[in-house]
Amino acid sequence: MDRVRGISKRPFLLGLLLLILISLATSPLYAAQYTVILLTSIFMYIVITVSWTMFSGPTGYISLASAAFFGVGIYTSAILGRALPLPFVICIGGLVSFCLALLVGALTLRLRGIYFVMFTFGLVELLLHFILWWEVNITGTTGRVVPTVSNTTVYYLMLITFVILMLTAYFIRHSKFGLALQSIGEYEEAAAHRGINVTALKTITFAISALFMGAAGAIMATRWTYIDPRIAFNPLVSFMPVLMAIFGGMGQLYGPIIGAAVFTYLEEFLITRFPYYYMLIFGIIMVVAILYLPDGLVGLIQKLWKRISESKYADT
């Protein structure tokens, strides 16, 4: 029964996705500049949140290193921005983050629980202070100017990154490696005894998630024009994806997307309407969400949907 419904729903779902994608891709043609900029921020957070969830969701290793990988992308863009065309810069930003994550992952993914959390957060601070020291003592600068491109270009680059990320996340989730990542989160020791190379799998997935964060950083740097280590390695970027993923719900692939989109829009809305109280309201919303939406917004939607479809069956 379920399977039959699943098959008949699929073309409809694909069509809907395509429609959304087309409307998003054409939006710079008719939407206001402000909307395009807002959408870019939304996509930036979606990219970071989805890539965070790709690793931390199934494995349960809570990484707070997002800001580090994002910042590495930003700095790559600042250093190479003038020398190379932007698409190359973005790829290199992603690759540098990827390599950093491989190294860090190989060293730290044997730590569990709070130790892993602490270390990953420490990485953000380490890079921040290292680059601060480097800039002051070696290059003699404190900040850098990044060559800018138009808002529309930034938007399209972010959208492309988002699409590639979603395809990657989808394939990982539905492959045997997705299952293996989940089993690591459930019982790592047992997973190892079922023939899964847990260390390699964790490290590579961690690195893939870092790749997208680095790419997002490299893109966003071009919009900010001026960056310094404190802007690039903003610890908030480490916490946001965690909150957004929890807010949206990690059970489904689209959970973090909804979470990040609603969250970013909410932030924007509150900042403009209640510039003094926005953090307070934000905090209250977060507390309420954690207390009453254990499965995030997606959980709420699923619950409502179930209620609607049940009442429909009750009528017939």
Binding site: K176, L179, S183, E186, Y187, A190, A191, A192, H193
Partner: protein, 245 residues
Amino acid sequence: MPILEGKGVTKYFGGLAAVSNLDFTVEQGELLGLIGPNGAGKTTVFNLISAALVPKSGTIKFKGKNITGLKPYKICRMGVARTFQSVKIFANMPVLDNVVLGSFFGVSTGNSSADAVREATELLEFVGLSQLKATPAKDLTLANQKRLEIAGALATKPELLLLDEIMAGLNSTEVAQAMELVSRIRDKKITIIMIEHVMKAIMNMCERIMVLHHGEKIAEGTPKEVATSKKVIEVYLGEKAHAGS
């Protein structure tokens, strides 16, 4: 050539020798029982074979190849699977996925997902869980969780299966079913080492029994030989009981 061979295997926990200078061999197709009082080092032997622990000294050979110091996933892919004394299943995953995982990552890693699901479905039927495919593993009874763990281990296509107290905590009907399952696994030509406290099962099913005490082998032989061994009776019943008889 024996399928598994250990020479001088030693493991210390702090100053305590959990397993000391243990030699053992397991022949192809054999069902070897591993018994001994609590703390004798039985599970440690399993942990050493499956590489959950690394021995301090000694070598373990599987099909003539030295496997000491390899990672657990490598040992699994070579054809050694195990279950755990305290059931270790993937609690929030459906029963089917628990088994599919083994088909994907065990000895044959190139399985397509259709093959893996088919194999897993067959194995669930084999252990008698096909009705519960979609149930989250944590909702199963203990006996069924143990069956599920065995199915998951079998999915990796082992030649040697290590069963660690699969009958502990089961009622007598369930013990009988577990014994029947073990004999059906043997029919698949899989070599088995089993740790068990249920003597009925050990005595009836094993061709050979190895008795451990304080990490040392104190007896080895057919069930009859072991049951009449002076040393074994001493260890299990105490010296006085033996003297009094």
